[in-house]
């Protein structure tokens, strides 16, 4: 008996969470996929009607806006947050004074919820309250900074707030990566008289490739599921200019009683996540098998 237990204990302990994941993650993904093929409105219906919800989705100009915004937001957010995070990490890595204090300050935005970040930036960027009115008050009456209320630029304010929130976290990731590079190699390079920037670009950064990948995965899924920041900062406005797929799905499911439409948009979001995560998993698994 005890031998059986010894052999099977890990399985027994893991079984409940395994079953929970099976039902609550994969079960509900399946349920959403099913509902996305029906004409469900207020309550879910289970009679399959083909791909009508997807046709409606791709005919909707609001969904176009949401997907375009996801591309703009995702690309800028991931690239800028990574570049900025790497730069901060390299600067912090120069054995400066009070590094601990500065590191904490950069990390602090991460401690705030997106709702707080969004609300604070809403005030900072509001033309009547924030930067614009402040600079105008300094005696530059022609100064204009109305991105928050300009439908063509509002999405970039979301990028700004998201970068402010996350680049400190990316910095921490990279800093850990920089510290893990073997000091002997760097010293050897220094002895050979290689300039510092070359040491970074040719030795340190290439050896941090796995960190880049993790940072990318973390930022990418933050971008795709972004919801609270948009709600707090712009409420999806002006008009629906800053809608993202997640806010679109929420509006359809909870405000409009259009569950089929919400389910189809959720499926598309999942496919986008898959497109990013599956190659990552594939490369990870292959690396282990080699």
């Amino acid at each position: 008996m005890s031998e059986w237990l010894e052999n099977h204990l890990p399985k027994v302990v893991l079984a409940p969470s395994f079953i929970a994941v099976l039902i609550f993650v994969y079960g509900f993904i399946g349920w959403t996929a099913w509902v996305s093929l029906t004409r469900s409105k207020l309550l879910p219906k289970y009679e399959i009607k083909g791909f009508i919800q997807y046709e409606r989705l791709f005919d909707s100009p609001r969904w176009d806006t949401a997907i375009n915004n996801l591309y703009i937001f995702g690309a800028l957010f991931i690239v800028i947050a990574m570049v900025l995070g790497l730069l901060l990490a390299i600067l912090l890595d120069q054995k400066i004074r009070a590094e601990g204090a500065i590191r904490t300050i950069y990390l602090y935005p991460m401690a705030l919820s997106m709702i707080v970040t969004g609300t604070a930036w809403k005030w900072i960027l509001n033309p009547g309250l924030g930067i614009e009115s402040m600079v105008q008050g300094w005696g530059f009456p022609n100064f204009e900074f109305d991105w928050l209320v300009n439908p063509d630029y509002a999405i970039y304010t979301i990028v700004m707030a998201a970068i402010w929130q996350s680049s400190g976290f990316v910095m921490a990731l990279f800093l850990a990566g920089l510290r893990s590079v073997d000091g002997e190699i760097i010293k050897a390079a220094q002895v050979d008289g290689i300039p510092t920037w070359r040491i970074y670009t040719a030795i340190i950064i290439p050896s941090m490739a796995p960190i880049f990948l993790s940072a990318f995965i973390v930022l990418a899924h933050l971008a795709i599921k972004s919801f609270d920041l948009v709600i707090a900062l712009t409420g999806g406005g002006p008009g629906y200019a800053t809608d993202l797929p997640a806010t679109y799905m929420y509006a359809m499911a909870f405000s409009r009683g259009d569950i089929g439409q919400a389910a189809s948009s959720a499926m598309i979001m999942m496919l986008v996540v898959f497109a990013i995560v599956v190659p990552y998993l594939y490369s990870e698994l292959r690396a282990k098998n080699d």
Binding site: K41, G239, S255, G257, D258
Partner: protein, 414 residues
């Protein structure tokens, strides 16, 4: 007064009779949780208790009712619906089609609801001929509010046509006043839009375009003119309007920063709370054009098991439409009673004007449901229209493009 006394006595008598059978129980799901609204619900709660009932309050705040609807969906799917739910407009029929609403015709017939409610409002309370909901109040949506001092200082009368409004707005703009206080949220854009549709197209056009969704009306020249007027109005709004809440826009009118606001009569509550007097400090009038757009709050009755709950449902329905509650509740909330036989002596001039217009437009057939407040259309259709309206208002889209998008969006929303 006699009638009122009679109704109270008969309410008590019936309540006493039914309490012999089973003690009335009611679980009520609503999202009236802010100050004045919570006070209004408490009135009903007290009345229910004094008639021997047990009230289980189920307030779910948040998202303008979205959170409450999510709770309702969960309860209905679990087969355990609340007794009564704050629902309005076509959402009532939508839930009826899911087969979960109760029939309260016996109460409605005994109380003679058909005689005291305006016909078009009564229609919202019926599901395929049977009564399934009880109306609480009537909010008028097509109001235009104005700061009396600002108008007097610029020699402007309340406008009665959109051309007059535009002329007045130009004058105000030249004088350095913001002509129109507006909050850039989709539902507020939609509120202004529907008053313009009513004003420029008239009641018949409104019915065709925003209730029947007739594609011809949606793509007509009249609709192009409506969007032209929306573009003109955009020019009368200050540049900082995006995302502003409606009550902040009302405050701009109150302190003279702006002259007009187009908003339903909940805005009156803001004026009154600030100690302003209707007719002196602020003016109320219907937006330019004929007709009346109503937003009626109501309680839909869900199918429940057990005599005590059914008795509670009947008692609740009776109390909601009874004159006493209709009067007290609406004095608190700023709207007017849904029944037409309540004395309005205690109500202010704006409410009296609203009641008078409701009677007149009901006779003339121009008493119409508000699309922006979910009275005319189901969620996915009204949402599709609002998307186009707000996209047009917040960009430089041409009116012709907007009309085309409007027709496409409506066709794609089913």
């Amino acid at each position: 007064m006699n009638r009122f006394a009679f109704a109270t006595v008969s309410t008590l008598a019936v309540a006493a009779a039914s309490s012999v059978v089973a003690e009335p129980q009611a679980e009520v799901l609503h999202w009236w949780t802010s100050g004045g609204e919570a006070k209004s619900v408490a009135v009903l709660q007290e009345e229910f208790a004094s008639n021997g009932g047990t009230w289980t309050d189920m307030p779910v705040a948040g998202g303008g009712g979205d959170a409450a609807m999510t709770a309702l969906r969960a309860r209905v799917l679990a087969g355990n619906a609340p007794t009564a739910v704050q629902l309005k407009g076509p959402a009532i029929q939508e839930w009826y089609e899911e087969g979960v609403l109760a029939d309260i015709s016996s109460v409605a017939d005994a109380e003679g609801w058909a005689e005291v409610l305006p016909a078009s409002i009564a229609d919202h309370m019926k599901c395929e001929g049977t009564w399934c909901a009880a109306p609480v109040n009537v909010h008028r949506v097509d109001w235009i509010w104005a700061n009396a001092d600002v108008l007097a200082a610029n020699g402007i009368e309340m406008p009665t046509t959109w051309d007059e409004f535009n002329a007045a707005a130009d004058k105000l703009q030249a004088a350095g006043v913001i002509p129109l206080a507006h909050g850039g949220q989709a539902w507020q854009d939609a509120t202004v839009f529907e008053t313009v549709v009513l004003g420029i197209g008239g009641p018949e056009f409104f019915q065709k375009a925003l209730v029947d969704l007739d594609p011809e009306a949606l793509t007509s020249d009249t609709m192009v003119q409506v969007f032209d007027q929306m573009r003109t109005l955009r020019g009368y709004v200050d540049e900082n309007f995006s995302g502003r809440d409606w009550n902040l826009a009302t405050a701009m009118v109150m302190n003279g920063e702006a002259a007009f606001q187009i908003m339903g009569d909940w805005a009156k509550g803001e004026f009154l709370a600030a100690g302003k007097k209707p007719g002196e400090d602020f003016l109320c009038a219907s937006t330019p054009g004929d007709g009346y757009l109503y937003n009626v709050d109501s309680f839909a009755m869900f199918d429940v098991d057990g005599d005590d709950k059914k008795a509670g449902q009947d008692l609740l329905a009776k109390l909601i439409v009874a004159p006493n509650f209709q009067k007290v509740f609406n004095l608190n909330k700023g709207s007017i009673p849904a029944r037409t036989d309540v004395a309005l002596d205690d109500f202010d001039i704006c409410a009296n004007l609203s009641a008078e217009d409701m009677g007149a437009t009901s006779d003339a057939g121009s008493l119409l449901p508000s699309y922006a407040h979910g009275m005319a259309l189901r969620g996915s259709q009204s949402g599709a229209i609002t998307d186009v309206v707000t996209a047009h208002f917040n960009s430089d889209m041409s009116s012709a493009d907007a009309v085309q998008q409007l027709a496409d969006a409506v066709a794609n929303s089913y």
